[in-house]
Amino acid sequence: MENSETKHINGYGVYIVVWVGLLVLTSLTVSVAGINLEQYTLFIALTIAAVKSYLVITIFMHIKFDDPIFKLFIIVSILTLFVIFVLTFIDYSFR
């Protein structure tokens, strides 16, 4: 594998926009936590955390501009983790 000669270089602006987005999502998750939404509280908190992670992985960690193999790495590992969670909870609920 050779070092690609035309590497994608981001401007500072993209990172700052993403950072502002992350701060907005943080204030959103904090204010939503103050409202009592019963069983949806955890779901909403985790959805916001997932959106934040998506932003960090694609832009800050540069996955959007890297070789597609890295996307595969991440998808496979997240799916593995998901399967582990599902299997554990199946075991847990039928005890």
Binding site: M1, E2, N3, S4, E5, K7, I9, N10, G11, Y12, Y15, I16, V18, W19, L22, L23, T26, T29, V30, A33, G34, N36, T41, A45, L46, I48, A49, K52, S53, V56, I57, I59, F60, M61, H62, D66, D67, I69, F70, F73, I74, S77, T80, L81, I84, F85, T88, F89, Y92
Partner: protein, 208 residues
């Protein structure tokens, strides 16, 4: 391929940037599984003791947690900016952004120190008499709190050391605009630390 004119003898040294990035990502995935296991333990016990988990979580300081989230997100930004600056051949700005990252990381750890000392001075730490008199769910919550934020804090310290070394290498021109894979990989590590915190924060500080 390398355009390193400072060191002539470097001309035909083989470099594989994509390969070393792959190695870094594989390592990050093992980190993900390490924390994934801890999150799994957390999930099972939270479903077993939902009321006791909320009761215990109320004792954590949401303000400090939110502040630390903002600090860590901002430090992620400065690392990304540091890499971008070096890619644009602005060595000075790149070092400045790394210094800022170190300051944010230190601030995070200082907040963590005060947070933990406040808890410990109230007698809440694993195995303490105060904690052992409480319900099982509360004992488990604080056990997980200390374990998970503790391992996360350890990663923050490792990341600080790593980024400090990168800073020295940039100053010494060992990392340059056409040879910055080690800086990029250290940046990836730092973003992972941020990612873990993105999940730790709502799960420990925002249960109502």
């Amino acid at each position: 391929m390398t355009q390193n004119n400072a060191a002539e003898h470097n001309h035909d040294i083989h470099r594989d940037d994509v390969g070393s990035k792959m190695g870094m990502w594989l390592f990050l995935i093992t980190e993900l599984l390490l924390f994934g296991g801890l999150f799994l333990v957390y999930a099972v016990y939270r479903f077993t003791f939902p009321e006791q988990f909320s009761l215990a979580a109320m004792e954590l300081n949401t303000t400090v947690g939110t502040l630390n989230t903002i600090i860590l997100l901002t430090s992620s930004l400065t690392v990304a900016l540091s890499i971008a600056a070096l890619q644009k051949k602005n060595k000075f700005l790149s070092v400045i952004f790394l210094v800022l990252t170190e300051i944010f990381a230190l601030e995070f750890m200082v907040n963590k120190y005060f947070e933990w000392s406040a808890k410990i001075s109230h007698g809440i730490y694993p195995g303490s008499e105060e904690l052992l008199n409480r319900s099982d769910g509360e004992i488990l919550f604080f056990g997980l709190y200390y374990t998970m934020t503790g391992i996360h804090g350890l990663h923050v310290i490792i990341g600080m050391v790593l980024l400090f070394i990168m800073m020295i290498l940039i100053i010494k021109n060992k990392i340059t605009s056409d040879n910055l894979i080690s800086l990029e990989n250290s940046g990836l590590y730092w973003h992972l630390v941020d990612l873990i915190w993105i999940f730790l924060f709502p799960l420990f500080y925002l249960i109502n």
